[in-house]
Symmetry: C2
Subunit: 137 residues, 2 copies
DNA sequence: TTTACAAATCGTAATCATTACGGTATTATA
DNA sequence: TATAATACCGTAATGATTACGATTTGTAAA
């Protein structure tokens, strides 16, 4: 998902494309990794002083519902990033900068075989650590 | 990890084995799956009316540090279960009853190869859904 | 078995992320 | 440009978790 696809999606669904909505998309497009609501608020404050929590969280939820953003929970805080739409994969997540690296390994085919009578609704596979750019040594 | 191992560990480390601590262990031993702090408080209330949040959370953290419990974050709430100490594996987690099923599949060997310059500190692989016992059909 | 003291607990307040809401402003489009 | 639906603001409420001074309790030495 990118900026233009997201804006088209908003328009097609009848949502208004406000300046704040565009700026939120730009923020995540440039982030290239996971960011929190707090990160976003801090970023938006420079342009929109006193922006409301309501606006931020409402739009994060909207984008999540529309499949513009994907989310994960780390350290008791929700993190968001632009949704990867091209093919199924997982992520290494850098705990310092939040940037992600695609991992094209998924063991679900094998796992599904072993859970014959289970109703599988989803799965999560994430690798945590420090990316090369953030290593101080 | 089981009740007796946990109590021995507490004693060896110089922690006191109070009635509440034992009851918390019993609760998780019988749970056979993930439970929240709220679940635990509700259970303890029947024996210890007005038990303090401090007591509950302090002991959950202690048990987590000592490797008696393991934890995961679901729906914005921390969930705890007795730690599996025998060998490395992952879990299917039933969203209705919290019970888990061991999954002896872990793709980390392959993943490690693909993250040569990355400092890997941990990973999470969980499968979510409904277990056979909770399926209403 | 008392005593002494560190550890554990209580009762409650504070914190942090998130959600909710009534009133106002803005956007899309007719 | 008028209109109505949508978005936003300012702020209060919620829910999980953390924190803290005062009090109680286990443990082990005397």
């Amino acid at each position: 998902m990118n900026m233009n696809e997201a804006i088209d999606l908003l328009k097609n669904k009848g949502y208004k494309t406000t300046g704040k909505r565009k700026d939120i998309l730009t923020f995540f497009e440039q982030a290239d990794g996971y960011r929190t609501a707090k990160d976003l608020i801090q970023h938006l404050e420079s342009t929109y002083e006193g922006i409301s929590f309501d606006t931020v969280y409402r739009n994060l939820h909207l984008y999540n519902e529309l499949g513009i953003l994907e989310t994960t929970e780390l350290n008791g805080e929700k993190h968001f990033r632009m949704k990867c739409t091209h093919h199924h994969h997982h992520h290494f997540i850098c705990k310092d900068c939040g940037k992600t690296k695609e991992i094209d390994v998924c063991p679900m085919e094998e796992v599904t075989k072993r859970l014959a009578n289970y109703d599988i609704e989803g799965h999560k596979f994430e690798i945590y650590g420090v990316c090369p750019a953030c290593q101080t040594v």
